[in-house]
Symmetry: D2
Subunit: 261 residues, 4 copies
């Protein structure tokens, strides 16, 4: 029994990867794809490696009928996403891959993203999509917020330690190394091959990275009081992958037990 899904924003990096993964999924089936600027094109025209897959043509969101669709993946830019999702039919379940619904506190959203949220009631309903820790909530949710890539990498190692109470919550350092595709296809000088290859550099040092907002929210929720970590992401000369080197204080045996169980 297959379930029909739509992917909004299928012509970007994230959308294309999603389509590739759904194409071999045992239950999900792609019923519709949208791409504003590429509407009318086939996915194979935009991404040649997807040409062999039997996929619907790209449409504009406003031309899309959601009949028969049960689930929508939203791979749209930040801010656009909340406006589009607010207008979707009520019967749809939604997984949003933008940053729009990761922070549940409107004040935090304003602080990290610089503008008020356009769909605050949806924001309150959204479930933080870190499956390993919110599996039951996600199962029941209408709207799931895909987590930040850095934010997920950091939480996998730290949450079990905070929950087990074996580390000092106020002395956590996350030194993160990330591939460049996470920055998308933006035409920025520091993303050029001649600038990035054979080098590495931190970015958003000193607590300026938006994923820090997710660490704050999630670790504070676990501990029941404000927790602030040190977090420095670095851009590496590789396309994919994230390595988080995490420094904590606690008894090594206890830390190992908490992670191994």
């Amino acid at each position: 029994m297959s379930r029909k899904v739509a992917v909004l924003g299928a012509s970007g990096y994230t959308g294309a990867e999603l389509v590739r993964l759904i194409a071999t999924h045992p239950i999900l089936e792609i019923g519709a794809l949208t791409g504003e600027r590429k509407a009318g094109m086939t996915m194979g025209e935009v991404f040649p490696h997807l040409a062999p897959l039997p996929l619907p043509r790209l449409e504009r969101i406003e031309d899309l009928s959601f009949e028969g669709i049960e689930l929508v993946f939203c791979a749209l830019p930040h801010a656009t996403s909340q406006a589009v999702i607010a207008g979707l039919p009520a019967h749809l379940r939604i997984v949003d891959l933008s940053a729009d619904f990761r922070l549940r506190d409107p004040a935090e959203y304003l602080k990290w993203y610089g503008q008020p949220h356009a769909a605050p009631e949806l924001q309150a309903q959204a479930v933080y999509g870190l499956t390993e820790f919110y599996r039951n909530d996600i199962e029941a949710a209408r709207l799931v917020a895909g987590t930040g890539c850095n934010a997920a990498a950091g939480q996998y190692g730290i949450r079990p330690l905070l929950e087990a109470g074996v580390i000092d919550p106020d002395r956590i350092v996350i030194d993160l190394k990330a591939g460049v595709s996470g920055a998308g296809r933006a035409l920025r000088e520091n993303l050029l091959h001649a600038e990035l290859s054979e080098g590495t550099h931190p970015y958003a040092a000193g607590g300026a990275h938006r994923h820090l907002g997710e660490f704050d929210q999630e670790f504070s929720r676990v501990m029941g009081r404000p927790v602030r970590v040190q977090f420095t992401p670095h851009l590496l000369p590789m396309n994919r992958g994230i390595l988080a080197t995490i420094y904590v204080e606690g008894d090594p045996q206890a830390v190992h037990r908490a992670l191994a169980q």
Copy 2:
């Protein structure tokens, strides 16, 4: 006895590399540097790896006194270069690293660069700067045209074979692999790390690359009749370097002798 030189356009990739090389030259000494948009800055501010060198500050060309300067290196963009050089004091000798003076036939220049040459009388005087083949001309020249990078790489292997008469001039294939810094710092999608790394692609296939004009000019000059080669450059996921794989027809022993002598 040192000789004072100026580098025009010292704030680009080419200019910076030139400055780095001149800095350890036994005779040349840097007397002046220009950079339009970076005028007033030190080289170390633009390129941190040059900070330890004792270098003059960047100026605007119009503010530059050429007193005491004997030689000017011109690392300006194509087309700009010919206008600037036309206005330089007559006592200066000039090495131009742009494409402006490589082709000596105005019709060829128009064909490959799409506009008439602005300094045709200088164009006629310029010497093609491939030292291994034009050493005497270069010594006597007022204006030397630095060759195209691909054009140089191809000629090193082929000229000795044409001059020795050991290959068929009408069956030459140049398959060229070039690092990405040759494309400069332009913000183009195909120069992004995520697009270029882990891949390679030909560009300007089918005879569209401007360096083909240099092959035509030089090989025809050697043979005294029109010679046309096949030339396909490829962009490789590396920053520097060029490898030209050249396919010719001729007796292998004779080819080897012509190259080894």
Copy 3:
């Protein structure tokens, strides 16, 4: 209705990639895996990215029961492969990914691989596994010889042109650029990151590469007379992928028609 397969040599690069692909195949199902030196281990222990897949443990070939298995993929080293395949139960169909059964002429095999073939009767039965050109033969075959990676890349562009009779068969140049994983995990100095990254070089130049034997065999078969091409492979600083730049002589319109149809 699934069909059970075994993968022999599943602990190498080729075997692991095969397992990854079969795992999402709609019909094939993995029934057994072998790996001589890693026997007893799980695939997840050898390749962490395969840990989530439900896979049988690695066994030694001699411990393997082929009951219920219909198809065997053989990802063993050259020479080992022919010995193992000669001893497999008669009911099995086999896809061999080594070089052992690509050349059908024993004299050619001896010339390119330096030793007589150990299973010449199987060699005569094997079908050359280039699906686009031998689909019917492959369907009927007991033993399919997976083609060389470079050999496949070159044939895709050239065979249609030879079959259409639109190019000169005696003037074909194949300049091939290949990623480094094709060389496997061998500990060779020229495969080190510090040696290979930021550079490229030809290898087996001058007609020394074994895949040239496949070009000879296949192009001569198409033309009904001996055909010899020029073929120079290059190692590029990327892990995967092959680009073949092919130079031919013929009418461009006819060439385009032959490829486009």
Copy 4:
């Protein structure tokens, strides 16, 4: 007035780079080069990029006359270095690039390198070669120990802060990212392009890296009491360069002032 130097072990990565740098030095002049396994060869035969330089042929150390030589650079493997240096003529001044003379306490040397030092009296005389902090000692020294690459990178940021007393010496984290050429030309699987490119990994985690011995020695010397740091080096898919991300606790303004002065 030039000063003649010899480079022992000139045929390795370190030796070759040293030769390249000395070749453009205003005062130093290369008088002799050794390379045990490459004795009799020219440097250009071993490293083609050095072929244009006028350099002496490689000799064996035992064949070398040190007449006229004032300074010796020793780029030999660890352990070999101490034996060779112990036998050098007394008039020579020596810069050793191995790890042999970095640690001055014999017990520390034994702990980190697993064997007793073969020249303990020289070990006691050696000056730690971090020029920015030991300039006067280096000027007077007969034997200078080149520092570990990681050890140098970490000290540049931390020593000024310890000396100024503005950070907590017991809460220092050094997360270090290093290019792969630092591991030399060893044939190890994790140094292959296909394994290293597109990935990164920590090594010697948990306090196992020998450069930690240098941090211990130097920071303890500065503070006059034992100081232990957290140090995790990572291998990055780049050939050269080191980035040390350092986490400290202290007043940000005071830290900035200590670094800026």
